[in-house]
Amino acid sequence: MTFHRHDLLLLLYLLLVVGGTLVHHPLILGAALAATLLSAGRRLGTLARRMARAALPFALAVSLGYVLMARHQLDQAATVLLPLNLRVLLLTALAFRILPAIDLQRALGFSPTLRFVLILATSQVLTFRRLFRDFQDSLTARSPRRVGLLAALRHGAATSAWFLARAEHDATEITQALETRGYFLDRR
C-alpha cells in the first residue's frame, strides 16, 4: 500500500485533531494555536477570520452560558473555559489551515466506491449550492419587504420539491451515462 501526499495530509490532520483533544494545558494549546496561525504567513488574517466565523458563535454561546451559571466562581469558570476555547480555536484553525490543501477524492482513494460516490456527490453539491443561492436571490428580488414565514415555507417547499425532482432526474441521467460506458458490467 503506497501513501500519497493527500493521504498523508489527511492522516496528519486527523492525528493533530486527536492530539489536540488529548492536551488540556492552556500554554501548550495557546502555543499550538499561535504556531498554526503564524504558519499561514501572509494569509494569517484570512485564516483568523475564517476560524472566528466558524468557531465563535458556538464557543461564545457556551462560554457566556457557563460564565452566567458560574458567576460566583469566576476563577473556576476561567479554569474550564480557557483551555476549552483555546482547543476549539486550535482545531478550527487546523481545519482551515490543512484541509484546503487536501484533495478529498484522492485522500479517500482507499475505497473506490466511496471515492466514486464522493466525486458524484461533490459535483452535484456544488451545482445545487449555486442553484439554491439563485433561488434565494430570486425570492429576495421578488419581495419588496422582508420575506415572511408563510412565503418562506412556500418557497422552501417548492425549492425542496424542485431539488428532489432534479436529484431523481440527475440520478437517472448519471446511471444511464455510466451504463452506456459499461461501468456496471464488472460489478454485476
Binding site: T21, A54, V80, L91, L99, V117, A161
Partner: protein
C-alpha cells in the same frame, strides 16, 4: 448541531467512530453488490439533495433564521439505509470541504441524524400512513428533527461526566443533561414543525410535478421505473 471540534471528548468520539465505521463499511460494501445499478448514483444524488435541503431556512422573530434538518424528508424518500449513508456523506463534506461542523462531531451527527433520525422518521411514517397519509408525512419530518436532538443532547450532556480533571472540572463541553436536554430539544420541537410542514408541502409539490409530467406525456404512465423508486420507504407521490 454543527458542533465544532474541541467540545466532544475522545471517550465519546472514539467509540462513536467505531460504531459508525462498522456501519459505513457495511453500507459501502453493500452498494456495489446491489443488483440495482442506480444504487451508487442515487446515493450520490441523495447526498447532494440532503445537502441542498439543509440550506432551506425559515425566519425567526428577532431577525435570525433556522434551517431544517431534512432528516425526515431524506429518510422517507430514500429509505433508512440510503438516508444514513447520504446524511453521513453530507456531514463529511460539510466538515472537510466547507468547514461547517467538526470532524469529531461527525460520527455523532451521523448516528444521531442519519441512523436514529432516519429510523424514527421511517418508523413513524410506516406506522401512521395507513391512518392518515398527510399526518404521517408531517410526523416523519417532526420526529426526524426531534429524535436526533434528543440523542445529541444526551451525548453533549454526558461530556462533563465522562471527561473531567481531578478537581471535577469539565474538560470538554461543560454542561450536564439539566442544561443540554431543554436547550437542544426545545428549539428542535419548533424546527421539527418546519421540517414536518416542509415534508408535507414538498411531497405535494412533487406529486403536482409528477401529474404535470404525466399530462405532458399524453397520459402515459409514470416514466419513473421501479428501479428509481424502490429506495423509497413509502409510496411514490
Amino acid at each position: 448541531m454543527h458542533i465544532p471540534d474541541g467540545f466532544i471528548a475522545p471517550q465519546v468520539y472514539g467509540p462513536a467512530y467505531g460504531v459508525a465505521g462498522v456501519l459505513w463499511t457495511v453500507g459501502l460494501r453493500r452498494l456495489p453488490r446491489l443488483l440495482d445499478p442506480a444504487a451508487i448514483p442515487r446515493l450520490a444524488v441523495a447526498t447532494a439533495a440532503a445537502f441542498a435541503l439543509m440550506m432551506v431556512t425559515f425566519p425567526l422573530p428577532g431577525g435570525t433564521t433556522v434551517h431544517v434538518t431534512a432528516v425526515g424528508m431524506v429518510a422517507v424518500l430514500f429509505g433508512v439505509w440510503h438516508g444514513f449513508l447520504a446524511l453521513s456523506l453530507v456531514f463529511l463534506l460539510q466538515a472537510l470541504m466547507f468547514g461547517d461542523g467538526g470532524i469529531t462531531a461527525l460520527p455523532i451527527n451521523a448516528l444521531a441524524m442519519g441512523l436514529v433520525g432516519s429510523l424514527a422518521a421511517v418508523g413513524v411514517y410506516r406506522a401512521v400512513r395507513r391512518l392518515h397519509h398527510a399526518t404521517a408525512l408531517f410526523l416523519a419530518g417532526w420526529v426526524g428533527a426531534v429524535m436526533p436532538a434528543v440523542v445529541v443532547a444526551l451525548v453533549l450532556g454526558a461530556q462533563p461526566h465522562l471527561a473531567h480533571d481531578s478537581a471535577g472540572n469539565p474538560l470538554f463541553f461543560p454542561f450536564g443533561w439539566d442544561v443540554t436536554l431543554p436547550a437542544v430539544i426545545v428549539p428542535h420541537l419548533v424546527v421539527g414543525i418546519a421540517d414536518g410542514v416542509l415534508v408535507l408541502l414538498a411531497w405535494r409539490a412533487l406529486a403536482r410535478t409528477d401529474k404535470r409530467a404525466d399530462g405532458r406525456t399524453d397520459g402515459r404512465t409514470d416514466q419513473r421505473t421501479d428501479q428509481q423508486t424502490h429506495g423509497r420507504a413509502g409510496d411514490t407521490p
